[in-house]
């Protein structure tokens, strides 16, 4: 089983991102589970959401304490939330930022990968909504999910032009990540 923790701020679509990952992973033939760390939701407050992906039925209902992957939607969270908490040594922390991974001194052995998701979102979608861009990058950085499954999940959730634009942004983020891996 692979466990993912998404850090964001209220309104950034962290819960939606977790749900889309679950839908996409299931389309890939895996079992999945997505849920928020239910806070008192308000715009701008730090929030967390979780996704589990497994080859067999998922029964575990606790929050995720030792994630394989962490996605950080907003780099300003690094100052107030321990995003590296419990991440497995061989894990990946994916951060939305214009800066290079070396910039971030986190207490972890996990690999830090950065992507300027805000820039991609502004260029392709025209709005600084980064959740879909980041799950596209996640697909590229981890290889856990087929990017096409993510694009399909997004297009189903957001029909029409919005979905198409998001799918394009996902593709761009995925390709950038594949380039980074090389």
């Amino acid at each position: 089983m692979k466990e993912i923790r998404i850090h964001g701020r209220g309104g950034q679509g962290s819960v939606t991102a977790a749900e889309l990952l679950a839908v996409a992973a299931f389309a890939d033939g895996k079992f999945s589970q997505a849920f928020p760390a239910f806070g008192v939701e308000r715009r701008g407050a730090p929030v967390q959401a979780f996704t589990r992906i497994s080859d067999s039925t998922i029964r575990l209902r606790s929050q995720v304490y030792e994630p394989d992957y962490v996605i950080v939607q907003d780099p300003t969270l690094l100052e107030i939330v321990d995003v590296a908490s419990g991440v497995k040594d061989e894990g990946i922390i994916l951060i939305n930022t214009e800066f290079a991974p070396e910039t971030f001194k986190l207490d972890t052995k996990a690999k830090i990968i950065t992507i300027d998701a805000t820039r991609i979102a502004l260029d392709v979608i025209g709005r600084p909504i980064v959740n879909t861009v980041l799950i596209g990058a996640f697909a590229g950085a981890t290889g856990e999910i087929d990017p096409e499954s993510i694009q399909n999940a997004v297009k189903e959730r957001f029909p029409g032009k919005v979905g198409e634009k998001n799918a394009e942004a996902i593709q761009r983020a995925y390709e950038i990540m594949m380039g980074v891996k090389k």
Binding site: A34, F35, T57, R59, R61
Partner: protein
């Protein structure tokens, strides 16, 4: 009997728990829905409102009301007039219904209601525990607790079948853990309309409010007759014990999914330690128990699906050979320092030849997460108690001493 599922990914979709329950309600063809929105029940009634707006629940009236008290009161009239009725609520909303809940049961109206379990105020807390429904224990409603979102949906159809059975005619609560199940996205089979039609007969009550054939419901009963009404309610709950098993078995025959009837026994054969619990914590417990079993440790689980009627016989049978029993409760009877399942489990073992120590843990109040490490700690204590006896009979789990 252990749960069995045909897992057919082709039939499954990843949806929110609330949606799969709302969908289950829809295919059960209710005639009247009456509910007032309250977190974390909201998504269920929003989805049902959407179905109504889209014309997907023919022959149904959705009543917008100004409170939970009105929501359940409206269903008293609707159900007495012969309608299949549904509501959903949680926490303070359920507590506001309290007075009317007795009326629904006393008039023998088979209303089905989803309780999206949440803690009660004060202090205000929107997260999950079982205090809300446990506090309605004695209102004469059947109470079933679901382990996952599929079971919550499937249990909805089962609840209509049990409640409306002419030998039962008692209202039923389907209890699902707030947020943990209501807001989780996971793969489920949405109940198929044709199979539900095959499973659930139309509601055809013998006694209805009808101007052409006037009769009264819930009228005056003086000391010469009141006792017999209570006796008959209790007798109906006794019948429900069997009907809950039947409903689970028939569901399995048609849908290929079974979660246990009154209880589910998991790894209980030869188990030295048996853990008892209700609701979504069961999934985590099964994972932990599997890990211990692979090391050869004999730890089993009794999942209580039906809290009312309380399955004394099945519980005694499941626990009789255990060396240690641990009961987990997401509720407390303040002043007794015990959770309800713990108290009742102990009670049903008294006056028997079963002599097994029972320890109670109150856990997960107000949505406090229950990590695997907490379960492991409880198992460690149970192992020690098996040798030396119980040190503390009932206690709070994961208390933050630094706050006290």
């Amino acid at each position: 009997m252990t749960a069995t599922h045909d897992v057919d990914m082709e039939k499954m979709v990843v949806v929110e728990g609330s949606y799969s329950v709302a969908h289950a309600v829809k295919v059960c063809r209710p005639n009247v829905i009456s509910a007032y929105p309250i977190t974390p029940q909201t998504h269920i009634v929003e989805d049902l409102s959407q179905f109504m707006a889209d014309g997907e629940i023919p022959g149904c009236e959705y009543l917008n009301v100004e409170s939970e008290f009105s929501a359940i009161s409206a269903l008293v009239g609707a159900s007495a007039a012969g309608a299949r009725t549904y509501s959903a609520t949680t926490s303070q909303g359920l507590e506001l219904m309290h007075e009317v809940l007795f009326n629904v049961s006393g008039m023998r109206l088979p209303v089905v209601m989803t309780v999206v379990n949440r803690a009660v105020s004060a202090p205000i807390n929107i997260w999950n525990d079982h205090q809300d429904s446990i506090s309605q224990r004695d209102t004469g409603w059947i109470q079933l607790y679901a382990e996952d979102t599929q079971e919550a949906a499937d249990m909805t159809a089962q609840a209509f079948k049990i409640a409306e059975d002419k030998d039962v005619l008692m209202p039923a609560m389907v209890c699902m853990d707030g947020f943990i199940l209501s807001h989780v996205y996971e793969p489920v089979v949405l109940l198929e309309q044709d199979l539900v039609d095959q499973y659930l007969p139309t509601f055809d009550p013998e006694f209805v409010l009808d101007p052409k054939n006037p009769m009264s419901f819930g009228a005056f009963a003086d000391p010469s007759t009141y006792t017999e009404f209570r006796y008959l309610q209790e007798k109906a709950m006794g019948v429900a014990l069997r009907k809950i098993e039947d409903a689970a078995n028939e569901f399995n025959e048609i849908f290929g999914r079974y979660y246990g009837g009154l209880i589910e026994e998991y790894n209980t054969e030869d188990a030295e330690i048996i853990i008892m619990a209700m609701g979504s914590i069961i999934g985590t417990l099964k994972d932990v128990i599997d890990a211990h079993s692979s090391k050869g440790e004999k730890i089993g689980l009794v999942k209580v699906r039906s809290f009312r009627p309380f399955p004394k016989f099945e519980i005694k049978k499941a626990l009789k050979d255990a060396k240690m029993v641990v009961v987990l409760d997401k509720n407390i009877s303040i002043g007794l320092n015990e959770g309800a399942l713990f108290t009742e489990t102990k009670a049903c073992l008294y006056n028997t030849h079963i002599d097994v120590p029972v320890a109670g843990y109150m856990i997960g109040h107000g949505g406090r997460d229950i990590p695997v490490s907490t379960i492991e700690k409880i198992i460690d204590e149970a192992k020690a108690a098996m040798k030396t006896g119980i040190d503390i009979e009932s206690q709070f789990t994961d208390l933050r001493e630094e706050l006290l």
